[in-house]
Amino acid sequence: MARRWLSAFLVVMLLALAGCGSSKAPETQGTDSTQGAAENSKTEQPKDVEISFYYPVAVGGPLTKIIDNMVAEFTKANPHIKVKPVFSGNYADTLTKVQTQIQGGSIPEVAVLLSTDIYTLVDQDAIIPLNDLIKADKDGAEYLADFYPAFMANSQIGDTTYGIPFQRSMVVMYYNKDLLAKAGYTNPPKNWDELVDAAKKITDTANGVWGIKIPSDGYPYWLTQGFAIQSGKNLMSSDGAEVYFNSQENIKGLTFWKDLAYTHKVMPEGVIAWTAAPTDFISGKVGMIYHSSGSLANITANAKFPFGVAFLPAGEKGFGSPTGGGNFYVFKGISKEKEQAAWQFIRFMTEPARIAQWGLDTGYVAPRKAAWETQVMKDAAAKDPNVLVARDQLQYAAAELSVHNNPQIYKVYGNQLQAIITGQSDVKTAVDAAQKEAEAILAPFKK
């Protein structure tokens, strides 16, 4: 009998689910509460300010400890500002946490999020433009000009600056000097033809040695974006409302990428794992890999053979690589005092010597020109010239794919890239499909 009642209850629940909704009045959404939070913070004493700082950790090493130390130094220099560092998982987790905080009305002051989150954050009305804060500083203009333009490309929309580069990276090529020497190369391949030639000579499938591996699971758009840039056209417009997935340039680039696996047979077919690629490289089973500049520390620590870091080999229109990594953002709806405190904190964290040391501790590319003039950086570069490669490639670098509704665009394009590399689809069909889907997703943002 009890069981029958339970079933009856479940049926009623089903009907309730199907029927409800139309009868109730709409609720108000959480974003309204941002005003309340702003009013609350007005009552804060201007003297003592507390700000929370959300940050992700995306590379190996004791980074939380380094951040804690940097924050402690900041508090020592600015006793009236108390910074509460909050380690919040990876980039995606951090974004989710920050967004949840905003919807719940307790807005964080400053966070490090992906530079490519810029449109997402602006569209959600979550962050403030930094122009006024920059202008208020005496040396503001010089400060901004000191950042490499390739990194600023993902930090501004038009003339409005929304992000300050902090932990930035780039796609570079790591190469095994022993394997390349056996193939007759003393220098790394400079262009696509040399890449294929060297990779063919290295590939020895009987012994499980591959010429090259380009990961395609987590961020397939990022690792293949270089091929489009090297062919002469990036994947998106600078206003973030258009993508060019089926351009002639991208088709040429992706065809080359697919041919590495299916025509030249120098790369394994199917999706290659991001995390496995450095391991394969360290174990000497692959001649060259495309990976983040941030993997340098890991590879340096573990490779038992001489290796080098190089530019991505050039295509028809020269060298090219997309930037990556995280920026500082300041959130909307906090008091002026807190905005100022957050800005002071960002300025402190990006001081040349500090950001140079941060880069050396983590493997990120220091985003300021002045950082590379510091003694600590010069010493490090003298010891290991590999440190300089990413910076030198910056002059050829372009913005990472970043448009409105970005996560969804990544998904549709990434799916089609995986369809290409698993052999499910030819390049033209795949990019046409991606373009069509992306245009539908971007339609609300077309002016």
Binding site: G21, Q29, T96, D123, E269, P407, Q408, A419
Partner: protein
């Protein structure tokens, strides 16, 4: 539970049932902690999802609560991604449930026999259930790795070339299924072991006298007598398979090209990656309806069909 205890006392002091002094509300008071939790964490979210599924709420496009009728449902049913995800989920369910049940029953029958190491073997086969899914996924991720993963090493021993299990659109879903079967079989084995210990031994003695050998005994006695366990376990595992998500995060991210994108993973993507809250609510309703239907089937149909001895 409380009433039979209270009643005789009541008769002595207050003969009338349901007067204020006896407190008709008392059972509800006792139940209230459970009811509050159920309302707050089960009923309310379900109703809220049902409500939100009729609205366009997309944080990525600045869309805040626009009434959309049943358009969300229409869009969802028309989207090719949803078809892929549903197809994968059904494939996954039918590719894992029978195998994990079959394996569980086989292991249970073997381990039910008393032999020297049966205790150790029971522990060993139960072990995958105890470790967290995330650890299991990490182990299998490594085992599936081309070149140095143990599975490819093993295949290479027989001259079979490397298979990029998680990176191939053909192999990725079967690879996830295999790992899930391994993870679940030990848990279901426990139910079967319990079921087996309750089987009457005299039936087997009679069967032996009649000259029924092992296979006939299994087919005519063990299998039918385990039916209640099988049906209970199959519902549990079916519901579990619709809730699969953890290993996808770690092993494939739903790829390559959605080949391993299952219902709950897709739901997470919609809600927390695309910020399309309305569509996520719509998919939640679909998921809840599927799970409710499975629960109803279990409660109404399955229990009646089985003869408990």
């Amino acid at each position: 539970m409380a009433e039979p205890v209270v009643q005789p006392k009541r008769k002595a002091t207050a003969p009338k049932r349901g007067t204020v002094s006896t407190g008709w509300w008392r059972p509800y008071l006792m139940l209230s902690p459970a009811i509050v939790l159920l309302l707050a964490f089960t009923i309310y979210p379900m109703l809220a999802a049902g409500y939100m599924s009729f609205f366009k709420i997309n944080l990525a496009t600045k869309q805040q609560m626009v009434f959309n009728g049943i358009a969300n449902y229409k869009d969802l049913l028309a989207s090719p991604a949803f078809h892929t995800v549903m197809k994968n989920t059904v494939l996954f369910a039918f590719g894992t449930v029978p195998f994990s049940l079959g394996l569980a029953m086989f292991l249970a029958i073997q381990l039910n026999k008393q032999f020297k190491l049966s205790g150790i073997f029971r522990t060993l086969f139960f072990y995958p259930t105890v470790i967290p899914m995330m650890s299991a996924a990490t182990i299998w991720l490594f085992m599936y790795t081309p070149q140095y993963g143990i599975i490819n090493r093993f295949l290479g021993f027989f001259g079979i070339p490397d298979i990029n299990f998680l990176g191939s659109s053909t192999w990725a879903l079967p690879a996830i299924m295999m790992m899930t079967v391994w993870k679940d079989a030990g848990y279901f084995m426990l139910f079967y072991l319990a079921g087996l210990q309750n089987l009457p031994t005299e039936l087997y003695e009679a069967a032996e006298l009649d000259g029924a050998n092992g296979w006939v005994q299994f087919r005519r006695l063990t299998f039918p007598l385990l039916m209640p366990t099988t049906l209970f376990v199959s519902t549990v595992s079916l519901i579990n398979s619709f809730k699969t998500v953890d290993q996808l995060f770690l092993m494939t991210g739903g790829g390559p090209n959605n080949a391993t994108n299952l219902l709950l993973f897709n739901l997470w993507e919609l809600a927390f990656s695309f910020h399309d809250k309305g569509m996520a609510a719509t998919l939640t309703v679909v998921l809840v309806v599927i799970l409710l239907i499975l629960a109803i089937i279990q409660n109404q149909w399955v229990d009646k069909k089985i003869h408990y001895n």
